[in-house]
Amino acid sequence: MNPEILIALPLLAAFLLPAARRIDASVGIWWGPLVVLANLVIAAMAWWKVQLIGPQSIALGGFAAPLGIELRADHLGLSAAVLLNLAVLLLWPRETPDKARVSTILLVLTGAGCGLAMSADLFNLYVFFELVAVATYGLAAANGKGEALIASLRYLILGALGSALALLGIALVYAKTGTLNLTELGGMSEALSGPAGIGALVLMVVGFGVKAELFPLNNWVPEVYAHTESRVSALMAGIISKLGILVLLRLIAEVFGGSPGLEFLLWVGVLGVVTGELAAYGAKDMRRVLAYSSIGQMGLVAVALALGGETGFIAALILMLNHLLVKPALFLIADAWPGSLKALAGKGRARPLGAVLFVLLALSLIGVPPLPGFWGKYLLLDAIFTNVTEGAGLLVGLILAATVVEAAYFFRIAARLFGSGEAAEESKIPGLPAVAALFVIAFLALSVQTGRVGDYLKEVVHGLQPQELRMAQSDFPDPAASVNGKGERL
């Protein structure tokens, strides 16, 4: 089965839904999850195929890159596609007044996310990124509450600004090199080492960073996560923020490796870690604590990306995977508790399972061994010591200090949960939500199998620069030779 179906099927279903629900209103409820389930199966099959025969490069429509668009069916792309489909399916929003429209938006989000994960063409990446962005603006307002609408509007404005900057960066790259294909750009890193190339990277980091909750344009995060349904917050913090990083990961691994512009990404990441954790410490309610903590974690990922190299990329991937499993579970578990931190007192005693798991997951975010978060931070520090020549001490100091702050606020929450307080009535506190349990199980599996997952991530990182997919780097390949009369691949 062609991996393009991963993009086409959800979009087709989304186009048909508005008409189908006019025939039968119940379509709005079952149509979306069913299609995403089918897409998940296809994604898993495509992923398995990559395991068997290795990464594939696809020329969309039979028009070979540089003229056409290249898709990569590789380890990174298809792993992300599987995780995205799974996360969307598990975290399907419930508290939505307009189920059919939200289904439509989620279907588009799924298709676009799969495209974003696989595309190897800068402009195509931008189109899918914008598509994911517009879908999330709608999703953020999906519960119909006034505050959510205002938060979504702020998100829309920042997102639009970010998209414009990213597009500017892409335009700079194109003006400088004359191509948008990542494989080809990989061979032209010299042309991008000047101010135009560095500026383009900076613009793209800021632009794609909006979705990845990176430092300058991330103040939409706490408001949106505080006012949407917890499942939507979980989806956005869990997987959608990772899609923004995925774009940067491909860009850095294939095109901008060693660019001086990465220094910018490094400090964006450090500022994200420091400001995120400090703001989380000061936050007064649970949703905002989790939102700011998410900013801090994504900052760590950005630092790891900026350091690059095998260790840096694997650290970034482990941190992302850890955050992807932990943060949605935290949002869902915390959903059963009152929002304000003050009201948490004693809530952990009534139903201890949720509270104990909450603390366990938080420990992984802090980076307590032997949980996966520890390995992420350990590899990150390792990458700092190997790659950074001067200022490594400052960098490590800032990150460790932020970790201490992180530990402080999570321990404060734990102390409140198990501390003395008015005895909560049993019936008011539900146990562990089933979906949260699934995320916890996946998290435990990751904790037990960290070694094996690490080996796979190594393969993922190696797959990012597939030598067999690379074209001759010495000169610009003759585009005239790429298409014959019928538009078929040669």
Partner: protein, 242 residues
């Protein structure tokens, strides 16, 4: 103070951009891809309008994405707009000249829209432009008389059918050519004729109808009064007092 800071930021940003653009090769941009497309377009796609060749053939996936951005934006806007409160007064019916003018323009706009869409692979124009003209044909009469009924139901079906056609043509080509969105399975045809350039005219027709119906239904949604049984919408106090 705040405005001053914004101004300062804007100047800084402008300086940053001018430095970047100053480093670009002026007047001699590397145009290998553009040149190659100009040279190969006719042979590869048979479209007299090279822009269409790029939009629908070489970079068809981007166009599908752009089409979907419009779609999902309209969906999200519809979701938000539907929550309008009761008692919002409508604009009154326009005068005779506007009403008559709108009615008169309707068939001409339809014909122009259809022409622009169908000749998209031959002359400048195409699905997005033609679709916008088609949508205008429907909402110019609506603007003249905001109270009139709107065919939202039919619009939704046209839109869904057109959108599905665009993707299904892509999927169909998997079976014919082995590639998704390979538009040449009908052959390139005779250059410059209405029936030429493979499935590009069909794709543009689907795209044009979808864009037209989409913009049209958005207007219909804005026009439709929110249902009184909608639990989300609280009636304003004034309305209850009456």
């Amino acid at each position: 103070m705040r405005q001053f800071a914004s101004l300062l930021f804007l100047f800084g940003f402008a300086f940053f951009l001018s430095v970047l653009v100053g480093g670009l090769p002026f007047g001699a941009a590397p145009m290998q891809v553009g040149q190659a497309i100009v040279e190969q377009n006719i042979e590869a796609t048979g479209a007299a309008n090279a822009v269409t060749g790029v939009l629908l053939a070489f970079r068809g996936m981007d166009t599908l994405g752009e089409l979907t951005i419009l779609f999902v934006a309209a969906t999200a806007a519809g979701m938000v707009v539907e929550r309008r409160k009761h008692g919002v007064s409508r604009d009154s019916v326009a005068g005779f000249i506007l009403l008559a003018g709108a009615e008169l323009m309707f068939p001409f706009l339809l014909i122009l829209g259809a022409y622009v869409i169908l000749h998209g692979h031959l002359t400048p124009g195409g699905g997005f432009q033609g679709g916008a003209i088609l949508a205008a044909a429907f909402f110019v009469p609506f603007l003249a008389n905001p109270g009139r009924a709107f065919q939202g139901h039919a619009m939704a079906f046209v839109e869904a059918f057109a959108g599905a056609t665009f993707i299904l043509l892509g999927i169909f080509s998997i079976f014919r050519e082995g590639d998704f969105m390979a538009p040449m399975f009908l052959g390139t045809g005779e250059f410059g004729q209405l029936v030429s350039a493979g499935s590009l005219p069909l794709l543009y027709l689907a795209l044009g109808l979808k864009v037209g119906a989409e913009l049209g239904s958005l207007v219909a949604e804005i026009a439709a009064a929110p249902g009184s049984d909608d639990p989300l919408i609280e009636e304003p106090q004034a309305a209850k007092d009456l």
